[in-house]
């Protein structure tokens, strides 16, 4: 039975991927762009959820890794004179190193100290990028980043994003289902007991934070491909908040929750911003509603709903 369940699951994944691959055939340019943004934002939220929902770490400023990944990739492409493809290796790597460093400082601390210090250190990175005008372009950011031909067209960028996101999501999924992931979830549930069964909690968390930083950086590098720009507000702390809301909204105990949340938030943001400048107000209200009425997220709610139905039968 477990086997057939597995097969239906992979079947759904394949159907989903095929539909995503066909998007450029029947959608116009704007929607392709939107879909690409949803995918990479979803990847970023999933990488956050890797440590937040599965690891129980209060990673409140995840956008820093997204932004640093994007900046590193962009600057590499722009200033090194080496192959632009190298930028997509450097971006995530720099983000991973940053994840490791911030993790090293924060991981010794208890949960709340962790969260508060993480958000503060993240905002320091933002401030440095913002002020380092000569290198990062300051608050203007960097525009018109030259890319290899194959990914510079809208469709090319979309396919590149789709492939990289799918592969990354698959890797993250495998990691969550691996013994490493089991131990990580154990730490989330009960760090004291984890230590008592022989898990080196700090090292385990540190690796998780580094991995999360890496995939945050991957998402950032993808943004460079899709949007051709980088700007400091990518890593402003309200963006990190949006990422946390995506996880919460979609459901942070399910693997696909964050990407569902990302889709909802990105689509809402796109349309609400067209109508009013008060997007933050709308976001805040959505967030309150979710906290009060949907604490397990959309997928958590559906899951429970389905189970009730099964039981009623």
């Amino acid at each position: 039975m477990a086997g057939s369940f597995f097969r239906t699951k992979s079947l759904w994944v394949i159907i989903g991927l095929v539909i995503l691959f066909l998007f450029p055939v029947f959608l116009d340019r704007f929607y392709i762009y939107l879909a690409a943004i949803i995918l990479l934002t979803g990847l970023c939220a999933t990488s956050l959820n890797f440590v937040l929902g599965y690891g129980g770490a209060f990673q409140f400023h995840h956008a820093v890794f997204y932004g640093v990944g994007a900046y590193s990739a962009a600057l590499m492409v722009l200033k090194s004179g080496l192959s632009p493809w190298l930028g997509f290796v450097v971006g995530p790597s720099v983000a991973a190193i940053l994840g490791f460093i911030i993790g090293l400082i924060c991981v010794r601390l208890s949960k709340l100290y962790f969260g508060m210090l993480q958000i503060s250190l993240g905002s320091l990175v933002w401030a440095i990028v913002y002020r380092w005008y000569s290198f990062t372009g300051g608050d203007d950011g960097i525009h018109g980043i030259p890319l290899p031909d194959i990914i510079s067209s809208p469709n090319g960028a979309y396919y590149f994003t789709l492939i990289v996101t799918s592969v990354s999501m698959f890797i993250l999924y495998r990691m969550i289902k691996s013994p490493f992931g089991s131990a990580l979830q154990g730490i989330r549930d009960n760090p004291v007991r984890s230590e008592m069964i022989g898990v080196n909690v700090r090292q385990q968390q540190l690796l998780a934070l580094t991995i999360a930083g890496f995939f945050g950086g991957v998402a950032g590098s993808l943004f460079v491909v899709v949007d051709n720009t980088v700007f400091p507000d990518m890593m402003f702390w309200t963006v990190s908040l949006e990422l946390v809301i995506m996880c919460l909204l979609g459901g942070w105990l399910s693997f696909l929750g964050p990407i569902v949340g990302a889709a909802i938030i990105v689509i809402l943001r796109t349309y609400v911003s067209g109508v009013t400048v008060y997007w933050a107000l709308v976001l805040g209200i959505i967030m309150m509603l979710v906290i009060f009425f949907l604490p397990n997220g959309v997928l958590g709610y559906l899951d429970r709903f389905m189970k009730k139905k099964v039981r009623a039968r």
């Binding site: 490493f180 131990a183 979830q185 549930d189 230590e195 069964i197 022989g198």
Partner: protein, 249 residues
Amino acid sequence: MLEVTSLSKSFDGFKAVNNAGLSVKDGEIVAVIGPNGAGKTTFFNLITGVIRPDSGKVLFKGEDITGLKPYQVCRRGISRSFQVVNVFPRLSVFENVQVSVLSRQKKTWNLFTPSSRLSVDDTEKILENVGLTDIRDATSTALSHGERKVLEIAIALGGNPEFLILDEPTAGMSPEETSRCIDLIKQLKEKLGITILFCEHDMEIVFSISDRIMVMVRGSTIIEGTCNEVRCCQEVQDAYLGGIDVCLM
């Protein structure tokens, strides 16, 4: 196997454990008894590295393990269960034990093999030993108190310990669950050859399964000896059993 000498720890001047000593031989079941607040749990915390002792030494199989971190102590072969249920609430019963087995087999750095294929047999064997096979897929929050206490022990067993520390294993259990739990503890010793150190309030259990008993009062060891020695020790009767003549028991 375990040799504890003059272990002390004070919190803000209060001597929680004061000059406590204990020795446990291979294959024994040793009980630590003492009135509430005697420092039994702190004593266990000191042995397992949760708290660092101010002074004293803990030797395990001849090696000094004083002041090691809990995960290091665990890797040497000492596991423990907790007085208050201390499991992984969002994981299933099977996963609870599996995490522990994976950790012992040093597989937690494996990032890519699915857990569902690893250490399954070992985990199932433990579940069978403790009698939790029927509810292996239940979430641990859905269990009864007695079942959770057994799960507690099962998690500790996941570390494949040579030495097991149980902190009030039967606390809060129904009489029926208690007798099953006692059978389990006896089996662990006889079948698996695990050395056991435990603390317990129920004197009947203590005297029925222990080889030897250590009595702790106000953080200090009063006496360490066989059941009969402890029963008839005047000091124990005064300090702990309230002067009732338990020799008659």
